[in-house]
């Protein structure tokens, strides 16, 4: 059994987390590891909670089960239920949240009960607005989050991520590529305000 690294992504229908997971898996694969990305959803609808998974290994053979004890939890929308999102996150694991100075984001981070993982934040919503990445009033944060995931985990280079995006994203390509870089650069560790 080769060692595996597992990501669980939590977001809402329409945020592009399923596409993000496949882009990340492709970038990881381009950089020399095997990766699989898959998702679970019910009837697809905008705003409903969606979960996606990424598995990474040196070996092509991997189990086909869901991920219950991830090394990384990535939260695309900080208004999602906190405990469901961080459930099973490994000790010493990494929690990455789309959170800025807004009340919602801090609330998410401050209500995570356990202390045994590292918390990082990137203001993906703000960055998405900056590059006008939105469908109507719905900011498309997925490429920003991808940049942050790559820089935190080291499993995908910015170059491979960009190449993967070029293959899979057709709309607003330049803006998305800038968003990835900015996500890559601006992710930062955060401490809970209250302990």
């Amino acid at each position: 059994m080769e060692e595996m690294f597992e990501f669980r992504l939590h977001g809402r229908g329409g945020q592009g987390i399923v596409v993000a997971a496949s882009i990340f898996a492709e970038a990881v694969f381009l950089d020399g590891n095997y990766a699989r990305a898959f998702s679970l959803f019910g009837a697809e609808r905008r705003g409903a909670p969606v979960t996606a998974f990424i598995r990474i290994s040196r070996d092509r053979l991997m189990p086909r089960s869901r991920i219950y004890q991830p090394d990384y939890v990535v939260v695309f929308d900080s208004s999602l239920a906190v405990e469901t999102s961080v459930a099973g996150l490994k000790e010493g694991g990494t929690l990455l949240v789309n959170a800025g100075e807004s009340e919602d984001g801090n609330l998410f981070i401050n209500t995570t009960r356990k202390n045994n993982y590292n918390i990082y934040a990137v203001d993906a919503t703000e960055i998405a607005w900056k590059y006008k990445l939105a469908i109507g009033s719905f900011p498309m944060v997925n490429t920003v989050m991808l940049g942050a995931m790559a820089s935190l985990s080291g499993f995908a280079s910015l170059e491979s991520l960009t190449n993967s995006i070029k293959k899979r994203v057709t709309a607003r390509l330049e803006a998305n590529i800038s968003a990835v870089s900015e996500g890559y650069e601006s992710v930062k560790e955060v401490k809970r305000l209250v302990t």
């Binding site: 898996a25 699989r36 898959f38 189990p63 086909r64």
Partner: protein, 380 residues
Amino acid sequence: MPFELMSGSQAAAVAVQRAGIDLVVAYPITPQTAIVETLANFDARGELGGDFVSVESEYAALACCYGAAAAGARVFTATASHGLAYMHEMIHWCSGARVPIVMANVNRTIGAPWCLDPDQGDSLSQRDTGWLQIYCSGAQEVLDTIIQAFLLSEELLLPCMVVFDGFYISHTYEAVDVPEEDKARAFVGKPSFKAQVRPGSPANMHGLTTGDNQIHLIRERHDAMQRAPGLLKSINSRFMETFERGYDVIDSVIAPGVKTVIMAAGATAETVRWSLPGLNNTGLIQLRMFRPFPCEDLRSVIEAHGVEKVIVIDRNCSTGMGGIFAQELRSAIYEMENPPAVQDIILAGGIDLTYEMLKKIIEQEKTEGHLEQTWGVDLR
């Protein structure tokens, strides 16, 4: 670059395009929609190499396949769950009419209530319809099996269902070694079966007959089915020479001295395969071909290794009896001199199978002795 990251559904569509197809008949249903969607994209780019027809229902989809195959065309369609159930009458008709068709079925629970998880009850409820059925454990296997299925189906004049799990395969993006179009088309060749109908020579097909005639036709279908395991093996050896990978009718991993094996079909087989190093002295039989049921292959692998116990993973349940793969295995081994004990693990509703559950199953035997039937939810 031969390796591409794609989903199981995309791999199925790529297989159809690479094999060379005359007609794709499409009607969408979750979780197979990406198959016909990908084929529609090939068509839109002018790369399909055949015709693409959207129809008004699954029943119409298979009826359309039947007509085209009767005229000598190589045809493909895909469905899942309620779509497959809706085809039921045509499913029988196509095998009775001896037309080759390749159809992908992506497992999804049949309602009520609505459920998208990959219970195998949709395809297994078509067990007795005279279709060949092959179950795949990942995207690469889906691609390769569909390519092989055209040859199998056309040689035997029996329709073939290639089956794989919704989401765990259909929606999983993974690295797939994609064969070059020329190489794949040369391997499959043009369809060589005889057309049953021709323009200009009208005929009345499949008119009323009697049981005395029908029994001969059914027997011919049964005999053709019996040829399938041997034929798939020979198609596969040629495939291995060309593409340097391949699959048997059953694929087993049994180390010397191992007496307990887990039998699984579809995505769960790969979870078991990955888990083996952590499961004390346990082997795997991946059941690929389900119809015809590979009795001889199973008996010979069980006998060769002196297997004492087979734990069957059934992501399905024939209520009132139990898991369907376990039932079939029990029938196949009944006449053996030393048949192994069979434990049936029921994952009905398409529930997840994890490494932790597999460890529990193996531990369970030590504390509780042999159990005939275990419900997956009790292993969490």
